[in-house]
C-alpha cells in the first residue's frame, strides 16, 4: 500500500492537537518531503527517521516519500513526531499493517541507531490524545511513569523502534506502566523551627487559610524566608485535577521528575531577582515555554528581596495575579499557561537594614525610594502584610518550640473547608477569590461591625479597594476562629494587616 496514516500530537503550550501523519510513496526522484508547517526540529526528523529505520535493520523505500501533517495550517514543532513518521512510512511500504496503527498515538524521538528517546510534554500530549478519542499510545519507555498518570488510555512504553514494530506485528509485548507512584515528596520544613514572631505566624496562617497574597517586611535574619518556605506545609494537598495540570506544566518545562511524577504537595518556587521576564512569566522563541509563575500554579511564588527586583519584573506579575493565567504570544502562535499562584513578597525595611530599626543610617529619602520600587498596584493586591520584629534576646523567648506545622495546618484546613462550603455554589474555593461587591451586598455585615472600616476610610488609611481586601481577610479570620461571620475585632485585625507600613 503506497499510502498510510499514523497519529501523533502537536503541542501548543499545555494544550495539544491530534495530528494525522499521512505518508505517500510515489514516483519521482528518491527523497523525503515533509509538508504541513514543520519547524526546524521536525524538518531534521526526515534524516533521523531514515537512519533509525535503516539501523533497525528495516529497508527504507528509495522512492519519493511525501509526509503530510494534518491539520496542515497549524505549525508543528518538536522531535516527538519521529516515531509516528517512521511507522507511517513503514506502513506505506507494507512492513507494518495499517489497521494496527488505527487509534494508536505514537510519541517519541528516534536516535540514529533506532533507540527511542524521551521527549518533553508527554503528559499534555496524552491528555490531548485522550480528548481526541485515541485508544492506545506508545511513548518512550523512560516516560512511562509520567504517561501512566493519564487514565482511560492504554499506555505502552518502548525503548527501541524495533520493539514498536514487533508489537505492531503482534510478535511481542511492550512494557506497561506500573501502578502510579505518588511522589515521595520531601517533607516541607516545619513551622516549629521558627523562633518567636507571633504576628508573622498569624499572618502566615491567615494567608494559608484564605489564599491571600502575603508580604513580610523585616530586618535580615528575622525569619522572612524561613516563614515563606513553611507556607507550603500549611496548604492543603492539591486536588487531583490541579496536580495533573501542574504535572503537565512541569512536563512542558522539562522539569517533571522521572520517579513519582505526580506530586500533590503545593509547589514552592523562589526565583532569583536577576531573573528575566521570560523566566518569570514564561517565554522563549518560537512557542513560549512556561515560567516561574506557571511552575508555581496552585502553590507559592516567593519573591525574596522584593525591592531589589526590577520594576518591569514585578509589574509583569500583575496580569497573572489578576487572571490566574498567562497568555504569551510568540512567532509560532500564542499559548496560555495557568498561573494561579499565591504571592509571598519579602523585603528589608531599608537598604542598610540593621538588626534594630533605630540603628538605621539611611536618610528618609532613601528609605522612601527603596519601598517606592514596589508599585502601588502590586501592593494593592497583597491582602496581608506583616512586619517582623527583631529578636531581642534568645533567653526571653520561652525556648519551647513554636507551634508545629501540623497543628496550624489542621486549623487552616478547617477554615478552608468552611470557606469552600460557603462559596461552593458560586465556584470559588478561597476567600481571596471573592469579588468585593458580593461581600458588600449578599454577604453584607451589620453596620456596627464594619464601623472600623468606615473610620479607616474617613481617615484616608484605606482605599475602597483596600476596604474590600480587609473584608476578605476578616472573613478568613472568622473562618479560622470557627465563627459564622466576622466581628468588629476581626475587622480591626484585618485593617491592621493591610495597614502595616514598613517605611
Amino acid at each position: 500500500m503506497p499510502l498510510a496514516r499514523a497519529w501523533s500530537v502537536a503541542l501548543y503550550g499545555v494544550d495539544g492537537r491530534l495530528v494525522e501523519i499521512e505518508s505517500d510513496i510515489g514516483t519521482g526522484l528518491p527523497g523525503v518531503h515533509l509538508v504541513g508547517l514543520p519547524d526546524a526540529a521536525l524538518h531534521e526528523s526526515k534524516d533521523r527517521v531514515r537512519a533509525a529505520v535503516v539501523n533497525s535493520g528495516r529497508s527504507w523505500p528509495n522512492r519519493r516519500i511525501t509526509f503530510a501533517l494534518s491539520p496542515a495550517t497549524l505549525k508543528k514543532a518538536g522531535s516527538h513526531f519521529d516515531l509516528a513518521l517512521a511507522c507511517a512510512v513503514l506502513a506505506a511500504s507494507g512492513v507494518v499493517a495499517q489497521r494496527e496503527l488505527e487509534g494508536t498515538v505514537l510519541i517519541g524521538e528516534l536516535a540514529l541507531d533506532g533507540r527511542l528517546r524521551a521527549v518533553r510534554g508527554v503528559l499534555p500530549c496524552l491528555l490531548a490524545a485522550r480528548r481526541s478519542g485515541a485508544r492506545r499510545v506508545v511513548v518512550p519507555a523512560s516516560t512511562l511513569s509520567e504517561a501512566s498518570l493519564v487514565e482511560d488510555l492504554e499506555v505502552f512504553g518502548a525503548a527501541r523502534l524495533n520493539e514498536v514494530l514487533g508489537w505492531l506485528a503482534g510478535e511481542r509485548q511492550l512494557a506497561r506502566p506500573g501502578s502510579v507512584v505518588a511522589a515521595g515528596s520531601a517533607q516541607p520544613p516545619d513551622l516549629a523551627d521558627v523562633v518567636g514572631q507571633p504576628g508573622a505566624r498569624l499572618a502566615l496562617e491567615v494567608a494559608a487559610a484564605g489564599g491571600h497574597h502575603l508580604m513580610l517586611v523585616g530586618p535580615p535574619g528575622t525569619g522572612k524566608t524561613m516563614l515563606a518556605q513553611r507556607l507550603v506545609g500549611l496548604l492543603p494537598e492539591l486536588r487531583a485535577d490541579d496536580a495533573l495540570q501542574l504535572a503537565a506544566i512541569r512536563s512542558v518545562a522539562g522539569r517533571l521528575p522521572v520517579s513519582g511524577p505526580l506530586s500533590t504537595t503545593a509547589p514552592f518556587v523562589a526565583p532569583h531577582h536577576s531573573s528575566s521576564v521570560a523566566a518569570l512569566v514564561g517565554g522563549g522563541s518560537g512557542l513560549a515555554r512556561p515560567g516561574a509563575v506557571s511552575l508555581a500554579h496552585r502553590g507559592v511564588l516567593f519573591i525574596d528581596e522584593a525591592p531589589e527586583w526590577g520594576p518591569h519584573l514585578l509589574e509583569s506579575l500583575r496580569t497573572p495575579l489578576e487572571d490566574g493565567e498567562v497568555r504569551l504570544a510568540r512567532a509560532d502562535g500564542s499559548v496560555r499557561y495557568p498561573a494561579r499562584f499565591q504571592l509571598v513578597l519579602a523585603a528589608n525595611p531599608c537598604p542598610c537594614a540593621p538588626a534594630r530599626e533605630r540603628d538605621c543610617t539611611c536618610p528618609p529619602s532613601v528609605r522612601r525610594r527603596y519601598f517606592g520600587r514596589l508599585s502601588g498596584p502590586l501592593l494593592d493586591r497583597v491582602d496581608v502584610r506583616s512586619t517582623l520584629e527583631p529578636l531581642l534576646a534568645l533567653s526571653d523567648v520561652d525556648l519551647e518550640p513554636g507551634e508545629s506545622s501540623s497543628s496550624v495546618r489542621a486549623r487552616v484546613l478547617a477554615a478552608r473547608a468552611a470557606a469552600a462550603c460557603r462559596w461552593s455554589e458560586r465556584g470559588w474555593r478561597t476567600n481571596s477569590e471573592v469579588p468585593g461587591p458580593v461581600l458588600r451586598s449578599q454577604f453584607r455585615l451589620p453596620r456596627e461591625v464594619v464601623l472600623p472600616l468606615d473610620h479607616a476610610l474617613q481617615r484616608g488609611q484605606l482605599t475602597a479597594r483596600g476596604a474590600d481586601r480587609a473584608l476578605r481577610v476578616a472573613w478568613t479570620l472568622s473562618d479560622l476562629a470557627g465563627c459564622d461571620h466576622p466581628d468588629q475585632g476581626m475587622i480591626e485585625t484585618a485593617i491592621g494587616f493591610k495597614e502595616q507600613r514598613a517605611a
Binding site: 514516483t27 519521482g28 526522484l29 528518491p30 528509495n62
Partner: protein, 118 residues
C-alpha cells in the same frame, strides 16, 4: 582518465543501451555548452527525452538518484534550452528523466529509470 570519469562513462554507455532497448532514439550524448552538459538527449518520436545519468559504485554515500539536486535539475533545464535553440527545434514536449546506474565493483549492475523526474 580518473576512475570516477571512467565509471561515469561506463554508466552512460549502460544508460544509452537501456534507452535504445526501450525503443528510444538517442540524438546527442554529452552535449556541452557554456552553461554545462547534458548527458543524453533522446526521443521517443513524440517528445524529447533529456536524461541525466548518475552512476555510483555503492550506496555508502546514498543512492545515485539522490544526488540529483534542485540545482542540478535547474542546470539541465538551462542547457536543454540552449540545445533546443542550437538545433532549431521550434516547439516540442520535453521530458526530463534520471537514469540511476548502480555499478558495484564485481557485482550486479542495476539501472533504474525515473521518468519525468523533474
Amino acid at each position: 582518465m580518473a576512475y570516477k570519469d571512467e565509471l561515469g562513462r561506463h554508466g552512460e554507455d549502460l544508460a544509452v543501451d537501456y534507452l535504445r532497448t526501450a525503443g528510444l532514439v538517442v540524438l546527442s550524448r554529452n552535449w556541452r555548452c557554456r552553461h554545462g552538459e547534458i548527458d543524453v538527449v533522446a526521443t521517443d518520436s513524440e517528445r524529447l527525452v533529456v536524461c541525466e545519468v548518475k552512476t555510483r559504485s555503492g550506496t555508502g554515500f546514498g543512492e545515485p538518484a539522490e544526488s540529483v539536486t534542485r540545482q542540478k535539475a535547474a542546470r539541465v533545464r538551462r542547457v536543454t534550452q540552449v540545445w533546443l535553440t542550437n538545433h532549431r527545434v521550434r516547439w516540442c514536449e520535453v521530458r526530463f528523466d534520471v537514469i540511476a546506474v548502480l555499478a558495484p565493483p564485481g557485482g550486479q549492475v542495476t539501472v533504474e529509470h525515473y521518468e519525468a523526474a523533474f
